[in-house]
């Protein structure tokens, strides 16, 4: 079998990515069609920067979704005799009906770089957005009362937040993401504290709004508690009675550390915005009406702070992606075999100056995803400032 030329490689990749192209076209067509009815999201399509960012981000999201269809080989499979195979090299002995070329070459143990990159997208996009959501829940739930009530609560929480922010991230990771820490059970305590916040947030959200309407309140709060505590028992303590929710101890450790590092930043932003917004007239009107403090915080202040929060959310997913990559780069990631981009860069860097492609491919992938998120955030900021 002949090796592919560069043109062949690009054509091959284009064909493999066909599900992604179709999904992208559908997503763009629908968004453009209903642009005027989609609020801030629709306005995004007025800015070329935002649209480019959205396109790049969705490319990776769809890649993660369709990863099984796109990848050409098993990301963990090793093909003997193809160590460090060049871009477009042919397989020595392809199986019947299997893909015949290494589209982007093979790495130092002869695994397909292209398939690893595609599967790595799934790994990254599984953890980064979820960790950011949890960090936001923690930051919002603590930042709202700190900014609204001020006083001792604010002083105490802000001191804690500054404490975490003053920690050099890399040192924290080296201390928290080790096999020894998993033995001591510290990640579980962390998870027990951090994972309770989404439940607290949702319960407060429904309680403050519907406490005058008990049937509705009981329904919403009850459902939140039922599903929340079910997921909580599974995710934090691995004690889900049915076994639907569970998390590998190493993954839990990585996840918890990333949430922990991110939440003080969110806290600071939320606190600052609440301090600004609470002087507005509509807050005073709410207070005069006799609304409770949590109603004002969650239903009056929070919706009015959504613009900067959405922008920060996009930026923070990018930052989390970088953090996950850093963890992988230092070999602290989920598992040594895992195809996530950080670990793959770490694997490839030993032979970097001789065979660069195994490290270069995930590096470019990570860069493009973060770039897309930054552009998306920039577009959103521009459009939300226009009102």
């Amino acid at each position: 079998m002949e090796p592919l030329t560069w043109g062949g490689v690009f054509a091959g990749m284009f064909v493999r990515f066909i599900p992604v192209w179709i999904a992208l076209i559908v997503a763009f067509a629908l968004s453009l069609r209903f642009k005027r009815r989609l609020g801030l999201f629709g306005k995004l399509f007025d800015s070329p920067v935002g649209m480019t960012g959205f396109g790049i981000v969705m490319f990776w999201v769809f890649t993660a979704i369709f990863a099984d269809m796109i990848s050409t080989m098993d990301p963990l499979g090793q093909f003997s005799g193809s160590k460090n195979a060049l871009v477009g090299a042919a397989l020595k002995a392809p199986d019947e009906g299997a893909y015949t070329h290494f589209l982007l070459g093979a790495d130092h143990v002869a695994r397909d770089v292209f398939s690893r990159m595609v599967m790595g997208a799934r790994d990254v996009l599984k953890i980064a957005p979820a960790a950011t959501v949890f960090a936001f829940m923690v930051g919002v739930t603590l930042g709202l009362p700190a900014g609204y009530f001020g006083g001792k609560l604010d002083t105490g929480l802000s001191f804690l937040a500054n404490l975490v922010l003053a920690f050099p991230v890399i040192l924290l990771f080296y201390l928290l993401v080790t096999p020894e820490i998993v033995q001591t059970g510290i990640p579980i305590y962390f998870a027990a504290v951090l994972f309770i916040f989404p439940i607290v947030f949702l319960v407060l959200l429904f309680q403050s709004r519907y406490f005058t309407n008990p049937p509705k309140r009981n329904l919403y709060v009850g459902l939140t508690l039922l599903f929340g505590l079910w997921a909580y028992s599974g995710l934090a303590f691995n004690m889900d009675p049915i076994g639907l929710f569970s998390m590998d101890p190493n993954l839990l450790n990585v996840f918890v550390s990333v949430v922990f590092v991110n939440s003080p930043g969110v806290y600071r932003i939320v606190r600052g915005m609440v301090m600004d917004i609470k002087t507005r007239d509509y807050v005073a009107a709410g207070q005069t009406r006799g609304e409770g403090p949590w109603y004002i915080m969650l239903w009056e202040i929070l919706p009015n702070a959504r613009g900067p929060l959405i922008v920060d959310f996009c930026l923070r997913i990018g930052y989390t992606t970088i953090l996950l990559g850093t963890l992988g780069f230092f070999g602290l990631g989920v598992s040594p075999e895992s195809p996530d981009w950080g670990s793959t860069i770490d694997d490839g860097r030993k032979l970097l100056s001789i065979v660069p492609h195994p490290a270069l491919v995930p590096a470019l992938a990570l860069m493009s995803l973060v770039l897309g998120l930054n552009l998306l955030a920039d577009g959103l900021r521009e459009e939300s400032l226009k009102d």
């Binding site: 820490i181 950080g342 100056s353 770039l371």
Partner: protein, 361 residues
């Protein structure tokens, strides 16, 4: 002003104590001590032997008391073994217990021994910090002028073509963490098979096989452009985008101020307005940002020193953490925490000095 500085110093001290205690606690967890016992004494120890080793070496005392001893505010432990040998925190092997001081901790200048390098922690750290100092100096010399220039140029005329191009560049660099840009730089400039080096070599423009060197190990003795440019660029690039964006934001704000319009209407040329009226006020905000970049630079230093094999502070930290070298890791953390807190203090105080609108009393 004095009161403000004193209060800041108080909070800083409290933060430093809390952070070092957290690090102390996390490095002294039972599994880490077990590992230390096995690596120091013998790998094939039984569980009982491990327990007695931990006891004989003073690791079984409560964490708070050990922390106080390590800090040097409590006298170090002493213990008489069954064999009659007297051991203690401050007593080195073969030293007469009667002659040693009873306090030996951080405050007394005793930072302990590194188990990886078999040298005092202060010596290992001193050497590493010296190497990293050169790296940071070079990074600052590249990063600060470049980013300020980019920021001022793009903020000067908001929305112009220059602004668009430079802003996109800034976004792209903030999306490129050090481990990505480092990999790309090596592939482009320091690989014998890809990038521009093979091309230049075939034209006979360069003597060696590669244009730049892929490792900075040789820079530890003799810094040259060819072995130092890539690590410096890698660290600087990530910061450039961020500082440039902050400068741009501050510059655009200043450029819309009334006094700038007045100056323009008086007939002062655009260049003069930018240099004489806008620049000084626009550079207040970036000053704090540059100072607050230090924690991030620390991150970059660790990554780049690992990637380019430059044996400075970051490399030392990785070695300490990877090999369970508790004393050295504690030393590294103290340095890191101090760097972060001191730069925060400088940025706070500097901001007050630079910006006359802020009054503290």
């Amino acid at each position: 002003m004095l009161l403000f500085i004193l209060r800041r110093l108080g909070v800083m001290l409290l933060t430093a104590l809390a952070l070092t205690f957290i690090v102390f606690y996390l490095t002294n967890l039972p599994p880490n001590l077990e590992k230390l016992a096995k690596s120091e004494a013998s790998v094939r120890m039984t569980d009982d032997q491990v327990v007695s080793w931990i006891e004989n070496n003073g690791f079984n005392a409560p964490v708070v008391s050990r922390y106080a001893q390590w800090l040097g505010v409590m006298p170090g432990w002493t213990k008489t073994l069954d064999t009659g040998e007297v051991r203690g925190r401050c007593i080195a092997r073969g030293q007469d217990p009667a002659t040693v001081a009873s306090y030996c901790g951080l405050l007394q200048g005793t930072w302990g021994m590194s188990t990886v390098f078999k040298k005092p922690v202060t010596e290992v750290l001193g050497r590493g910090l010296g190497q990293t100092g050169w790296l940071m100096l070079a990074v600052m010399l590249v990063m600060v002028p470049t980013s300020l220039l980019l920021g001022v140029l793009s903020g000067m005329r908001e929305g112009s073509r220059t602004d668009r191009v430079l802003s996109t560049f800034a976004i792209a660099t903030t999306a490129t963490p050090e481990y990505v840009s480092g990999v790309i730089f090596i592939a482009l400039f320091a690989s014998a098979t890809t990038g521009i080096s093979p091309l230049l070599a075939s034209w006979g423009w360069i003597e060696g096989k590669t244009l730049f060197m892929g490792t900075a190990t040789s820079a530890m003795d003799d810094i040259t452009f060819w072995n130092f440019a890539l690590p410096v660029m890698t660290i600087a690039l990530y910061g450039i985008g961020y500082i440039a964006r902050m400068t741009r934001a501050s510059m655009t704000e200043v450029m819309t101020a009334q006094y700038i319009r007045t100056a323009r209407l008086k007939g002062v040329s655009f260049g003069q307005v930018v240099l004489k009226h806008a620049l000084r006020n626009a550079l207040i905000a970036p000053f704090t940002v540059i100072m607050l970049q230090f924690p991030w630079l620390l991150n970059g230093v660790v990554i780049v020193e690992t990637l380019f094999n430059y044996k400075g502070f970051g490399w030392t930290l990785v070695q300490a953490a990877g090999n369970n070298d508790i004393e050295l890791l504690l030393g590294c953390s103290v340095v890191a925490v101090l760097v972060v807190l001191v730069t925060q203090l400088i940025s706070d105080i500097g901001y007050v000095f630079l910006n006359p609108r802020i009054r503290l009393s």
